[in-house]
């Protein structure tokens, strides 16, 4: 179990470090329209 915890923390730390370096990306999930212009705000998402 401790290996999973450490692995998860390392993984998360790397992701967050990259986010802090230039993380202004859209993490709101898949868009279900087609983005032909930035910030198509009303498109929905689902997994």
């Amino acid at each position: 179990m401790w290996k999973i915890v450490v692995g998860f923390l390392v993984f998360a730390a790397l992701a967050m470090w990259l986010l802090s370096k230039g993380g202004d990306v859209d993490i709101s999930g898949e868009k279900h329209g087609i983005d032909v212009a930035p910030h198509a705000a009303s498109s929905a998402s689902n997994p």
């Binding site: 992701a15 993380g23 859209d26 999930g29």
Partner: protein
């Protein structure tokens, strides 16, 4: 033929075996893949749009928008039926080997697909074809993973075992961030927009190779193996699941009494909270992403906690408590989020009265899930501008063009119906400037001030929202599996899961936005999850039976 060995109930108190760990790992890898794709198609949407769709004429863009919408909202439940049926007929192992192959190859091929500039309209057609194919396979992936893990789990540990699958949503997000941001940082913004965006898609081939290799080495689920040996597999799982009332009734209960509420609580906790921070609260995107990621990091272990707890106290109390607590606390939590993230906005909202005076016949319900609808009346335009500036307003019936009243100042809106593009653009700019200037004069901030943010409080609120997600999501796979007999399990549980999450969850952002614009209150979008979580709570409490002690082999 060897007789299938069922997981022993005596194993309840023993630690997980290597084989059991492998089962969970193999199944979860597929769902990591699913989530990785989910985030790729969000983060890279603008680049993909530019490379594949922006050169299309407006009519074609509408058609492709509808097809992309169909890939998520129609094809996935259809895939749940197609692969669920296969899984119940030929077995779990081979079915979700097929789903991951289709899903993985569809993702990889996007990475080598020529763009519109190279092959013209064939490029968006192939891309949409791949997304439809991927959506189809995805419809069968979650049900397969949940069924496979649950059927390998010892009795009394199904909640704990299947809850690992839910943690993959966070892993998929972190993986996509590492690959996308890592690539972008390494090669630079320009090269990434030009060709580097392909790398995250290409990288997926490694994930696919590992997944296929592991899944090939796995055994068929013991429950399915036993049923096959006894010749009891279903010849027509779809007819059995949905054509017989005794099963259909449970499918409907699984949807209305479980997955519908689970989906809206999940979407609110992760995606609506993010949208609320960056949209109405005007927190910059990079800060909001980190706040959400920290909350997910803290909250993710709770999936395992609530999954394991559900083996002891039951699935139903945890899921129902999650729905109820969420429904009761969303309004105060989101209001507290406003005070913590943008106190200037909270103050302006409390002190400055804004009113929209408009002919009610001119005002639409601005529901726009595909982004292709255009709202052109003066009422709709006035409300859009106010909603974009996080202004809560009152609606008053009037005649003629809509007007915005801010304090004692009145600004007349315009209708862009039938106006030439240049004139509409000029009027839009003038109207926005007049409104925004007045709003600023009344204390509405352009951005959330980072110096005034109470970050520990924001993280605490977001973490609580994620914990609600873990309450409803942690035990859900085990509960869905336990509701249906082995012969139709894959089919029966996949459909309510995808309809619940795809339709009720997936439409939350667009519906929430439309409700906000309609009513003029930026918190009113929360009525959508509150209403559906409450329906699930009531239906679940009245009609859904506890399943933790169900012997999943009893009805085989």
């Amino acid at each position: 033929m060897a007789t299938a060995t069922l997981p022993a109930s005596s194993a309840k108190g023993t630690p997980m075996t290597q084989e059991e760990k492998k089962v969970i790992f193999a199944s979860s890898l597929g769902t990591v893949f699913e989530w990785y794709d989910f985030y790729l198609y969000g983060t890279l949407a603008v680049i993909i749009g530019k490379q594949f769709f922006s050169a299309l004429d407006p009519n074609s863009q509408v058609i492709f928008s509808l097809l992309a919408f169909a890939a998520g909202f129609i094809v996935r439940p259809f895939g749940a039926l197609v692969f669920g049926r296969l899984g119940d007929m030929i077995g779990r192992k081979y079915t979700f080997l097929v789903t991951i192959l289709i899903m993985g190859l569809s993702t990889f091929i996007v990475g080598i697909l020529p763009t519109y500039a190279s092959i013209g309209v064939a490029a968006p057609i192939i891309l949409i074809g791949l997304r439809l194919l991927q959506g189809l396979a995805l419809g069968g992936e979650y049900g397969g993973a949940a069924t496979y893990v649950a059927e390998h789990a010892p009795h009394g540990k199904r909640g704990a075992f299947t809850s690992w699958i839910q943690t993959t949503a966070t892993l998929g997000l972190f993986l996509s961030l590492i690959v996308i941001l890592g690539t972008r940082t390494a090669i630079g913004e320009e090269a990434f927009a030009d060709w580097g965006w392909r790398i995250p898609f290409l990288v997926s081939i490694f994930l696919l190779a590992i997944s296929v290799w592991i899944r090939l080495s796995m055994n068929e689920s013991p429950a399915f193996k036993k049923m096959k040996e006894e010749g009891k597999t279903s010849k027509a799982p779809l007819t059995e699941s949905f054509g017989q009332w005794k099963n259909l009734k449970i499918v409907i209960l699984a949807l209305v009494g479980l997955t519908m509420g689970q989906a809206v609580v999940w979407y609110t906790g992760q995606f609506y909270a993010l949208f609320f921070l960056t949209g109405p609260l005007k927190v910059d995107g990079a800060t909001a992403n980190i706040l959400i990621a920290v909350a997910l990091l803290i909250g993710t272990p709770f999936f395992i906690l609530f999954g394991s707890l559900s083996d002891k106290i039951g699935r139903k109390p945890i899921i129902m408590a999650g729905c109820l607590i969420a429904a009761l606390t969303y309004f105060p939590l989101f209001k507290a989020l406003t005070v913590a993230a943008n106190p200037d906005l909270a103050k302006a909202q409390a002190t400055s009265q804004v009113t929209v005076v408009a002919d009610p016949n001119e005002c639409s319900f601005q529901f726009n899930p595909t982004g292709i609808a255009k709202f052109t009346s003066s009422c709709d335009i006035a409300k859009q501008v106010l909603a974009a500036n996080s202004v809560s307003y009152e609606n008053v019936a009037g005649t003629g063009p809509a007007k915005i009243k801010i304090g004692d100042k009145e600004i007349e809106a315009y209708s862009s119906k039938g106006l030439p593009a240049d004139e509409a653009k000029a009027k839009d700019a003038a109207f926005k400037k007049a409104t925004i200037d007045e709003l600023r004069a009344h204390g509405y901030p352009a951005k959330a001030d980072p110096a005034k943010m109470n970050k520990p409080m924001i993280i605490a609120i977001l973490t609580l929202l994620v914990i609600y997600v873990t309450m409803v999501y942690g035990p859900i796979a085990a509960m869905l599996v336990e509701m249906f007999p082995t012969r139709i399990r894959y089919t029966s549980m996949s459909l309510p899961y995808h309809i619940g999450n795809g339709w009720f969850g997936g439409l939350l952002p667009a519906t929430g936005l439309a409700i906000v614009a309609q009513t003029g209150n930026m918190y009113n979008g929360l009525w959508y999850p509150i209403i559906f979580a409450t329906i699930t709570f009531v239906v679940g409490m009245l009609f859904v039976k506890e399943t933790k002690d169900v012997d999943i082999y009893a009805k085989d």
